[in-house]
Amino acid sequence: MDHIQMQMLRDIQKLEFTAIELTLYLDTHPDEQAPLNDYNKTAEKLDSLKMLYEKTYGPLMAYGFSSSPCPWRWIEGPWPWEITL
């Protein structure tokens, strides 16, 4: 795993965590516009960052959520618990 992949994973983690926090907030405050705007902005950024990541490093999700070249890249290591950087 190279440093660029590591940095991209970090950046995805940051945006995804913001999305998690806003998800839980919106679950108990479903009628508020400001957090919803922030959620939608975060989702958009996260989407394009994940697409960029998957182009180089393979799918983050299986079950048809992203396509794969041959050979099937989903099973490529390291798996999340094996990352040592």
């Binding site: 970090r10 983690q13 108990t28 079950y63 999340p80």
Partner: protein
Amino acid sequence: MWLYEKILEYPVRVYKTDLRMAKYLMAQYGGPDSELSAGVRYLTQRYSMPTNRAKGLLTDIGTEELAHWEIIGTMIYKLIKDATPEQLRQEDLGGYFTEHGQAIYPADASGIPWTAAYIQATGDPVTDLHEDMAAEQKARTTYEHLIRLTDDPGIKDALRFLREREVVHFQRFGEELNRVQEELIANKVF
């Protein structure tokens, strides 16, 4: 349907073998107040929640707990993967090695296997949300005890993150409890 994403919610910066800490961390992997208990508890209770908000909240927090379970599993995996059977025996993990080798088995810090008896689903949303809030407090306390048992900056760092999540989850369950109580009173069910 559940989707697995090939990324941890929070990075685990653990580089050394530390069997004693691995054993303590089992509390959060397969103990009564573990992330596993939390995940199974919320994902079980959601079916009988009266509001869409509560169903959504329990689904989302339950799912996040499974991500936390993976973080704890990753920490334990990294802490024990390079240990020899002799080292495991010295740290009183000989029994664990006999039964599980180097697998990451859901048992608590004393080796007692995880059981569904750790959780409850009563079908009463007020009661279940109270259990959930108590569970968040118990998990927070367990994290505080774990933080005090280690000097390793990487372990401490991940534990601090997980501890703070319990505070946020408590707040969200509390907000939903307010609403559920309000609705039950309005519907004169309560």
